[in-house]
């Protein structure tokens, strides 16, 4: 496992698509350093040959019948839109 100092906040915040202020960077850096330091405890565990668990009770190959069903109406789907026009979500220009 890498050292806690490997957490590059600028890089990770960019991946997470969150702008951080300088104050947040300083505070989160220290707090997450503590957490990563604690998490390093996991390095002691011998996990050789142990299968990972993604779900406690894995359910595989869940199939649904291919039957059309009513979904949300357009009005319901657009009800919480920050900005809308006709039956569309409005966003700033994406392509120049």
């Amino acid at each position: 496992m890498s050292k806690p100092t490997a957490l590059n906040l600028d890089h990770v915040a960019h991946l997470a698509r969150i702008s951080l202020t300088d104050e947040e960077k300083a505070r989160f850096g220290a707090q997450l350093g503590d957490v990563l330091g604690y998490i390093a405890l996991l390095n002691e565990v011998d996990v050789e040959g142990v299968e990972p668990t993604a779900h406690a009770f894995p359910v595989v190959n869940v199939w649904a019948e291919d039957v059309p069903q009513a979904g949300l109406s357009v009005e319901d789907a657009l009800r919480n839109a920050p900005q809308r026009k006709d039956n569309m979500f409005v966003v700033p220009k994406v392509v120049e």
Partner: protein, 501 residues
């Protein structure tokens, strides 16, 4: 009369409603009056619609009258009962905020499956209950709106993340409530507020319509005033749902009947006490109350033996890798495009993401998204996420190994009674460690319950704070778990003591 109503159990109220001694409108009226009286101090609710609740109560009374007129004996198991909902569970046409600025103005376009089932059982969906933002926290101090107060001592936290649900039931503002539990978010606030809180087995209850935090851990469950009431609500909300592919195809038993049969059989349970849960950090008063509860079980003829869960000390670390990884993925949907907060300063499409998320999320949510993004990022996945999933396997194996010898495992729910507001807010790690006894249950997918088992000594600001006993059951054996909890409950009077906020 009103005092009696607001602290009654579902079974007591259902009896009165059935016998015509009480109408749902009267009951709802008493609960609304109580909420208006105390919620300015307790702050359990983000919002409530008294008129809408009374309309549901009127409809319930009409259904009951029609059923009686037709000679039908039974209504739904929750007919006319006010059930509070944590503000992460969708109720069509009602606000759904997750106690976040991100969803401050969101209105649910549909019902969650549990909501649909509550309504079908006759329940009144009552209010939107506060939580830590997106269910991330152990105190409700991470709510973007306000911190809920512990009804037993208003200077203290109610626990979290489902602190509003626990406080509402404890303060007489709802007969029962639903919460969600990812690492202890039902059991810990239940313990701190002196009520019953049940986290069912992973897959037992559909999460369709629940705002997702960590999908391999999240489970919906009830808060109630008795184990019998918790069983009644579980029976209503449990079951397979084609809309949640992780819900299991298993029959839902009649829990109350199963519990009664087990009680009649006089079965002597074998209970395991994991030595790892009684070490450093456990408050002496909590330890003494739990020990006394274990002695009570011995008095009932149960066999009590020590068991070992050797990987316990790695549970919090594994949890904060897995839960944050999953949350970073689940919360990627809050992009400011289709719903939720959108920054007014965004100049282009990418800017919408960065600024809307910076403005919409609070500090703890940002910290967890960043930690989760990091542990999943290129070069770190194997070292953190994959290793944590392997440790999870070992933690789960520990429990299954113990269940070869015992029927259930008995522990404290939380290392301390309710702590004072502000005590842990600047130190996230200290807050995380508060969940040390509840987290393993989620990692292993087991059912767990917290029931009242005593009070701390009276101190400045309170007449004693509630202490919770956690009982951890085997996968999908909620009937046994509830029967074991009920056996203790039947011999004690902790649940009869009420908060006076």
């Amino acid at each position: 009369m009103a005092e009696e109503l607001i602290y009654s159990t579902i079974s007591e109220l259902s009896g009165k409603l059935d016998r015509g001694e009480l109408s749902s409108v009267e009951l709802m009226g008493a609960v609304i009056a109580r909420t208006k009286e105390v919620d300015g101090r307790v702050k359990a609710f983000n919002s409530f619609d008294g008129g809408g609740a009374l309309a549901q109560a009127r409809a319930s009374d009409e259904r009951r009258a029609r059923a009686k007129g037709a000679g039908a004996a039974a209504c739904g198991p929750l007919e006319g009962i006010p059930i509070g909902l944590k503000d992460v569970i969708s109720v069509s046409g009602q606000p759904l905020t997750a106690s976040s600025r991100m969803l401050e103005n969101f209105v649910s376009p549909y019902d969650a499956t549990v909501t649909r089932k509550l309504k079908a059982a006759g329940a009144i969906c009552w209010g939107r209950l506060n939580l830590d933002e997106f269910a991330m926290g152990s105190s409700t101090e991470n709510s973007a709106f306000h911190t809920t107060c512990n009804p037993w001592d208003l200077e203290r936290v109610p626990g979290g993340s489902s602190g509003g649900s626990a406080a509402a039931v404890a303060a007489g503002e709802a007969t029962a409530a639903l919460g969600s539990d990812t690492g202890g978010s039902i059991r810990q606030p239940a313990a701190l507020c002196g009520v019953v809180g049940l986290k069912p087995s992973y897959g037992r209850v559909s999460r369709f319509g629940l705002i997702a935090f960590a999908s391999s851990l999240d489970q919906i469950g009830p808060f109630a005033r008795s184990t019998g009431d918790a069983a009644t609500v579980l029976g209503v909300i449990a079951g397979h749902d084609p809309r949640d592919s992780t819900s299991v195809r298993r029959e839902v038993p009649d829990y109350n009947r199963g519990i009664a049969d087990l009680a009649k059989s006089g079965r002597k349970w074998k209970l395991g006490i994991p030595k790892e849960y009684f070490g450093e950090g456990l408050d002496p008063e909590v330890a003494a109350a739990v020990q006394a509860a274990i002695d009570e079980y011995r008095g009932l003829g149960c066999e009590v033996r020590e068991v070992s869960l050797p990987h316990t000390k790695y549970a919090v670390g594994a949890y904060y890798i897995i839960a944050t990884a999953e949350c970073s993925s689940n919360l990627a949907r809050y992009d400011g495009v289709r719903y939720g907060h959108r920054s007014k300063d965004a100049r282009d499409a990418l800017d919408i993401y960065f600024k809307s998320r910076a403005e919409g999320f609070g500090a703890e949510v940002k910290r967890r998204i960043i930690l989760g993004t990091y542990v999943l990022s290129s070069g770190y996945y194997d070292a953190y996420y994959l290793r944590a999933q392997k440790v999870r396997t070992l933690i789960r194996r520990d429990f299954l190994e113990a269940y070869k010898e015992v029927d259930a495992i008995v522990t404290p729910t939380s290392p301390t009674p309710a702590f004072t507001k502000g005590d842990k807010t600047s130190n996230p790690l200290a807050m995380y460690l508060n969940d040390i006894y509840t987290i393993g249950v989620n990692l292993a997918g087991l059912p767990g319950i917290s029931i009242p088992c005593g009070f701390s000594r009276p101190a400045s600001g309170n007449q004693g704070l509630p202490i919770g006993l956690q009982i951890i059951g085997q996968p999908f054996r909620e009937t046994e778990l509830l029967a074991i909890a009920g056996a203790y409950e039947g011999r004690t009077h902790w649940h009869a003591r009420h908060a006076t906020p």
